[in-house]
């Protein structure tokens, strides 16, 4: 009988996962605006002083703002960056206005379709609806062509480069099977598109669960292990944003964050206290404070 190798565990530590991200990587980041972003992973990117990252997705928010404020960002390819009720993302805005970060502006559908095209290994995606906008003017890799069937003018949009996807999910087992609860929100479905498009996919989760837990609800396993590079347990991993079924966004901390983001100096103090000097996520959560966390946790289920 052949020697039997072991079932592989894809469970790795946050710092090990982030150490596998090269400077200059193109990263699709899950979540939207204030919600469901893999923020623990973002903080570790900052701790490990990653540089020149390109972030892509649809509707970015606090995750891009954090990277911009930490000087980790070179480029954003998305349909938008904003903080909802907290207004524009100030670190991001400042970085773009100062020419430190380039924003490639796509509409929502374009931002997704180029990632879909990457996942489907299509050589291009046809875009029909941006005539008259300034969008193609600033996207030099779009190529005008005539529809071979109708002759209509279209733009060929190349697939996105997605070296890595990083998403935050409710549950995974050590093998890398990822479970989402039955009522999932649209950004969670979009996260799956990112995960399947990337060359490597890291999933941070609120809880690592048993393999049997996954097999009890195979219809909720939306990302089977073979599509996952690594899983990382990251409780409160979307904080200060929200994670459905777990916690709402942390108003107390968000106000502190937004206030700090008003100047580079204040944000550097924020980063030092909550990210760099904190050194790890447990210390981050300690400094955020259990009272803030408990308040955010009061979601109506």
């Amino acid at each position: 009988m052949t020697e039997k190798p072991a079932i592989k565990s894809k469970l790795i530590s946050l710092s090990d996962a982030v150490s596998q991200i090269a400077d200059g990587s193109h990263i699709a980041i899950g979540g939207a605006a204030l919600h469901m972003h893999p923020m623990a992973f973002m903080r570790e990117l900052v701790r490990q002083r990653k540089r020149d990252l390109t972030v892509l997705g649809e509707i970015q928010g606090v995750e891009v703002d954090l990277l911009a404020g930490a000087g980790a960002l070179r480029r954003v390819e998305s349909s938008g960056v904003g903080l909802e009720r907290y207004g524009l993302a100030r670190n991001f805005r400042r970085a773009v206005e100062h020419g430190e970060v380039v924003m490639a502006d796509y509409s929502d559908t374009m931002a997704m379709d180029r990632i879909v095209a990457k996942g489907e290994n299509l050589t291009f995606w046809p875009v029909s609806f941006i005539g008259g906008t300034d969008i193609p003017r600033y996207l030099p890799d779009l190529v005008e062509f005539d529809c071979p069937i109708t002759g209509r003018k279209l733009y060929a949009m190349p697939p996105a480069r997605v070296d890595v996807a990083v998403i935050h999910m409710p549950y995974a087992d050590e093998r890398g099977n990822v479970l989402i609860t039955e009522r999932r929100l649209m950004p969670q479905s979009q996260d799956l598109v990112y995960a399947r498009a990337a060359d490597r996919t890291y999933v941070t989760v609120e809880h690592i669960v048993s393999h049997d837990f996954i097999r009890r609800s195979p219809q909720l396993n939306h990302l089977p292990a073979f599509q996952v590079t690594g899983v990382i347990e990251a409780p409160w991993g979307a904080h200060p944003g929200s994670m459905p079924d777990f916690y709402d966004y942390d108003e107390g901390h968000m106000e502190e964050y937004v206030e700090a983001s008003k100047t580079p100096e204040a944000f550097d103090v924020y980063l030092e206290r909550f990210v760099r000097d904190a050194g790890d996520e447990a210390t981050y959560l300690e400094r955020v404070g259990i009272r803030n966390l408990l308040k955010a946790r009061k979601v109506v289920l």
Partner: protein, 280 residues
């Protein structure tokens, strides 16, 4: 509860409700910020729900494209995001949990939509990308988001502008992130855009605009009660022509108002801000 003259928000809600048809499929996202939330989310949602309760029971309300026919009256607080679990769990016909969503964007499933932008110009082009040049913007804004698709694929788009100022009603937007009627309907056709789509109305704290489909230019359709047309002109960065015959935006009747206050927004969480036009 039902006493009192209509607020501007109530007047505009009923005005919008009257634009809606029984066979409409209406789409609105959730917008943040006091005035923006009122114009961008609360008025459209309340108007669609009011229409469902009155003349358009078969209207389909698509909240952010993923929640079909939610019971708006059950909201306990006004959500400040379209990605919140409280919306996800709201009593509704359908919760779309797949990407792409159920509605057929490019086929024109959506017959009426609501959007807003930092700038809108004389031809209904919109901008939510930047003020100043794209390469070195004076203000970097959010991005094109879904605005491009709103004006390209939805049937009648109702642009809800929370602020009416010559700086955001401009002759030409700094970045066209969504296309109105450059060159009129003929211009839209040349650009490959559906002529059945595009902006139908622009609603502001001062007035309602529509479009001359031939020239493609925006024109004042009505001014709100108590607004001097001269104020509209002074607040608009493009030529408006003769405003002497412009009517007043119609007031809601008492029956509509009562339904709005007792059944659409019974907790007063949607339309409670008496003066949404804070920029006025």
């Amino acid at each position: 509860m039902t006493a009192g003259a209509p607020t501007l928000a109530e007047t505009l809600t009923i005005y919008v409700a009257r634009q809606l048809r029984d066979d409409d499929v209406g789409f609105t996202g959730m917008v943040n910020g006091d005035a923006s939330a009122m114009f961008g989310s609360a008025i459209p949602l309340a108007a669609m729900y009011h229409a469902q309760l009155t003349h358009a029971p078969n209207l389909t309300l698509l909240l952010a494209g993923w929640l079909t026919n939610p019971d708006i009256s059950k909201l306990e607080t006004m959500p400040d995001s379209e990605f919140m679990a409280s919306l996800r769990d709201l009593d509704a016909d359908a919760l779309i949990n797949a990407y792409p969503a159920q509605y057929r964007l490019r086929r024109g499933d959506i017959t009426v939509g609501f959007s807003n932008g930092a700038q809108v110009d004389a031809y209904g082009n919109m901008n939510s990308v930047c003020i100043g040049p794209h390469d070195h913007p004076k203000v970097r804004l959010v991005g094109p988001i879904f605005q491009t698709e709103h004006l390209a694929f939805f049937g009648r788009e109702i642009i809800m502008m929370p602020h009416h100022d010559w700086r955001n009603f401009v002759e030409k937007v700094d970045f066209v992130s969504a296309v109105g009627y450059p060159g009129g309907v003929a211009g839209r056709r040349e650009l490959g855009l559906d002529v059945g789509s595009g902006p139908a109305l622009v609603i502001t704290p001062l007035c309602v605009f529509d479009f001359d489909l031939e020239s493609g230019r925006m024109r004042v359709k009505s001014v709100h009660d108590g607004v001097d047309p001269a104020e509209v002109r002074a607040s608009t960065g493009f030529e408006l022509g003769d405003l002497s015959d412009v009517p007043v935006t119609p007031a809601p009747g008492p029956a509509d108002l009562e339904i709005l206050r007792t059944r659409v927004d019974p907790r007063g969480i949607m339309l409670s801000n008496a003066n949404p036009g804070e920029a006025r």
